[in-house]
């Protein structure tokens, strides 16, 4: 069963800050959901290939590199709240 320490570790990996009561709540929820998922182990899948995509004829495609259909820097920045010298201004992150 997933422990509170596990939940704390995951939340840090996912950059989510949880307080003590949230930790309790999510530990309970996650344990319930993961326990439900365990039923997949009833099925023998040794010989079954995994599916990442349901439509078999969809393949990765390459296309001509061209820039005519790309947004310009001006368009990209138009709706940004704060900008400076062609950059978006944000709070310090490091």
């Amino acid at each position: 069963m997933i422990s509170k320490d596990d939940v704390l570790k995951i939340s840090r990996l996912a950059r989510l800050e949880l307080n003590e009561s949230e930790l309790d709540k999510f530990q309970r929820h996650l344990a319930g959901i993961l326990q439900y998922v365990e039923q997949l182990n009833e099925i023998d899948t040794d010989e079954i290939p995994p599916t990442s995509h349901a439509i078999s004829d969809l393949k990765s495609r390459y296309q001509e590199g061209s820039t005519d259909s790309t947004l310009s820097q001006k368009e990209v920045l138009e709706n940004a709240k704060e900008k400076s010298d062609g950059y978006i201004v944000t709070k310090g992150v490091l």
Binding site: I2, D6, V7, I10, S11, L13, A14, R15, L16, E17, L18, E22, F26, H29, L30, G32, I33, L34, Y36, V37, Q39, L40, N41, I43, T45, I48, P49, P50, T51, S52, H53, A54, I55, D57, L58, S60, R61, Q63, S69, L71, E75, V76, L77, E78, N79, A80, K81, I88, T90, K91, V93
Partner: protein, 481 residues
């Protein structure tokens, strides 16, 4: 009104596009406070677009040519707030994207605009489309116009309400595990989840990229076909969009004689509400009368679909929501709601070293088995028919303490997404209490034409879509709120 009625009025000059648009804006003004369907209403933009359309019609020398170039000309509609709209706030129903204004249109938005529509605004939904009832919206739930003590169904909650209560002729939606079919069946409208890759995902805020399907909610099946004809087709901006030709769906939209309909026995089991079951049985009788052949089929891995779904979805969600770092756009990660946090954490866990094989890989393998079930069934039958939802619309807050209980409501819808199949939810009557019930038609890949044919023929025979919500709405405070 449906698309045909509106366009007839425009052609005969019985009404102008401005007049029609005003009528819908009036409905929004009088109903939105009660129903909470719209997050943003773009009245001014809508009226100026409508004016342009009126001029275009006035100046046109050949209206047939004009309407064939712009097949949705003059039709007021609205987008789920998951669709990027240039210069119009797009929140995904979340606090984290409050205030975000995209610099471009999603491909589906652009195609719908180019087809001549008038956009009325952006519609409420579960935040990032995570939810089955609409109650996970950071803007509060959209309420069910057939009973205000119940949610509209999600995640495309506002889309169902807007069409049902005539605040828009049609509305876009997304369906990752039932998010179009659920609100459609809870609000007595028609909901199409197209084949995966039929409609471009470009510009639509992603939930689970291997499952997300872009569709719409309409009052009638014909309208659904008309809208798909516009939105479907290859888009160089989405590498998973299909190059398969888009047929003319209206060409042969009627008749089910000889159609082989399979009823999955797992979709009619113990967990299904008896009133829902009886609506499905009535629908089968109608089909039989119209000349279809009914057979029972089995999709034995149905009971594992939710377990598969709730590993694959959170895994893809944790990756897709990693981009919301509070730097380039959006607010900080603290503003994620509980459901997004839950999914991000389950996904992070399922994808982490040491657990990947046990969860993600295992789920992908069982996904293969779910798909094989469907493919085997389609060897013998043309379409599948079952309930869209196992239950009637629940009460607000009914499952709020137990997320797993809400997840289980996706039992009949999410297998379709795992297999990438198209499905159409069509109104199939009402419960004793007057709550809408929908049936779901499921087709093989790219067989939307078969679904429209079966859906339209049934709809014309039964006409449940004509029973609109009555004013004052059930549960409404007569003195006004």
């Amino acid at each position: 009104m449906d698309i045909e009625e509106i366009q007839k009025k425009l052609v005969s000059k019985e009404a102008s596009c401005v007049e029609i648009t005003k009528e819908y804006l009036k409905n929004i003004t009088s109903l939105n406070e009660k129903l909470n369907a719209f997050i943003t209403v773009t009245s001014e933009k809508a009226l100026s677009e409508a004016e342009k359309i009126d001029n275009e019609i006035d100046e046109s020398e050949d209206l047939d040519v004009l309407f064939s170039l712009k097949p949705l000309l003059g039709v007021p509609m609205a987008h789920k707030d998951l669709f990027s709209t240039k210069d119009i706030e797009t929140t995904a129903g979340s606090n984290i994207l409050r205030g975000y204004i995209p610099p471009y249109d999603a491909t589906a938005v652009k195609r719908i605009k180019d087809a001549g529509t008038v956009m009325l605004g952006k519609l409420n939904c579960d935040a990032f489309a995570h939810g089955t009832t609409g109650e996970n919206s950071d803007f509060g739930p959209a309420l069910n116009p057939y009973d205000l003590s119940r949610p509209a169904g999600g995640s495309s909650s506002g889309s169902g309400v807007a069409v049902s209560a005539e605040m828009a002729v049609f509305a876009t939606g997304t369906d990752t595990g039932g998010s179009i079919r659920t609100p459609a069946s809870f609000t007595n409208v028609c909901g199409l989840k197209p084949t995966y890759g039929r409609v471009s995902r470009y510009g639509i805020i992603a939930m689970a990229s291997s499952l997300d399907s872009i569709g719409h909610l309409t009052r009638t099946v014909k309208d659904s076909a008309r809208v798909l004809k516009v939105t479907a087709g290859y888009d160089p901006f989405d590498s998973t969009s299909s190059k398969i030709k888009v047929p003319d769906y209206l060409e042969s939209i009627i008749g089910v004689k000889g159609l082989k309909i399979g009823v999955p026995e797992e979709y009619m089991g113990d967990g299904i509400d008896p009133e829902v079951k009886s609506a499905v049985k009535n629908a089968l009788k109608v089909y039989e009368k119209l000349g279809a052949e009914i057979a029972s089929v089995s999709l034995p891995h149905t009971k594992y679909a939710i377990a598969v779904y709730y590993v694959i979805v959170p895994s893809e969600v944790s990756s897709n929501l990693a981009r919301y770092d509070g730097i380039r756009f959006g607010n900080s990660r603290e503003s994620f709601g509980d459901e997004a946090k839950r999914r991000i954490m389950i996904g992070t866990y399922a994808l982490s070293a040491g657990y990947y094989d046990a969860y993600y890989l295992k789920a992908q393998k069982v996904r293969t088995l779910v798909i094989q079930d469907f493919k085997k069934a389609f060897e013998k039958i043309d379409i599948l028919l079952g309930p869209a939802m196992p239950v009637l619309p629940p009460k607000l807050g009914e499952n709020s303490d137990d997320p797993l209980k809400n997840y289980l409501l996706d039992v009949l819808t999410c297998p379709v997404n795992l297999a990438g199949l198209p499905a159409l939810s069509v109104p199939a009557g009402f419960s004793k209490e007057g709550l809408p019930i929908g049936i779901q038609l499921i087709g093989d890949h790219f067989a939307e034409d078969a679904l429209f044919r079966a859906g339209y023929t049934y709809e014309q025979e039964t006409r449940y879509y004509e029973q609109k919500p009555q004013l004052p709405l059930k549960g409404e405070d007569p003195d006004g709120i």
